[in-house]
């Protein structure tokens, strides 16, 4: 019987950016928090202007297909 998903150090899914439970945090190496910090810092950034043109290009192509 499966009791936990098959992943290391964390037995449940969690939304991006949320910290693991205190018990899990104690067993995780410190650099995992650092990885999350790097990841979350980028999540919080606005998309740079270069992505606007990408989105517009994709929208244009979508519109071109009618």
């Amino acid at each position: 019987m499966l009791t936990q998903p098959d992943r290391p150090g964390n037995g449940r899914r969690k939304p991006n950016g949320t910290a693991p439970s205190p018990q899990r945090r104690e067993r995780q190496p410190g650099w995992i928090q650092g990885l999350r910090q790097i990841y979350n810092s980028v999540l919080d950034e606005p998309l740079p202007p270069s992505f606007d043109s990408l989105l517009k290009k994709l929208d244009d192509e979508n519109g071109g297909r009618g």
Binding site: P5, D6, R7, P8, G9, R13, K14, P15, N16, P29, G30, W31, I32, G34, L35, R36, Q37, I38, Y39, N40, V42, L43, E45, L47, P48, S50, F51, L54, L55, L58, E61
Partner: protein, 153 residues
């Protein structure tokens, strides 16, 4: 396109360089758009796009070794930063860059990408056992680099 922030964050951790990461994400987005007919409805869009991103990353690495060419021995020539107050993000980024790209991608998919081993193995196109091995070695190497004591004078 709602996944763009997550793709950017993953790419940033993979590449260690904001410009390269954004270029990679844009390339992956265009590839995904071009291949949208191959997406299986009901399957994970996130996993599908992360697969494309990972493949683009490795493809670019093969074409351009200047991006990063870590040795198989991540510890070789590793110089820990002198610091008294614990882990610095810069050290972590340096250490990540020392990992082999396959191991780095595997580790990031599971630890911060919120994928299960099964999903990550599919993204990496490898057996779960191989993925586990990559993650285990990545964790070991990161632990060694980031827990490495300062050199004794």
């Amino acid at each position: 396109m709602a996944l763009l922030p997550q793709l950017r964050a993953f790419a940033r951790s993979l590449c260690g360089n904001a410009t390269l990461a954004d270029d990679l994400v844009q390339e992956a987005a265009i590839r995904a758009w071009s291949a949208r007919a191959t997406f299986v409805p009901g399957s994970s869009m996130k996993a599908w796009t992360f697969t494309i991103l990972r493949n683009a990353f490795l493809s670019n690495l093969r074409k351009d070794r200047r991006q990063t060419a870590p040795s198989h021995d991540a510890m070789r020539d590793w110089t820990p930063a002198e610091q008294e107050d614990g882990l610095h993000i810069a050290d972590l980024e340096r250490a990540l860059g020392r990992l082999g790209p396959e191991r780095r991608a595997a580790l990031l998919l599971v630890t911060i990408g919120d994928f299960s081993y099964a999903e990550a193995a599919q993204i990496c196109d490898c057996p779960i056992g191989t993925l586990r091995s990559r993650i285990s070695r990545a964790r070991r190497d990161l632990g060694k680099m980031l827990d490495h004591p300062k050199p004794v004078d």
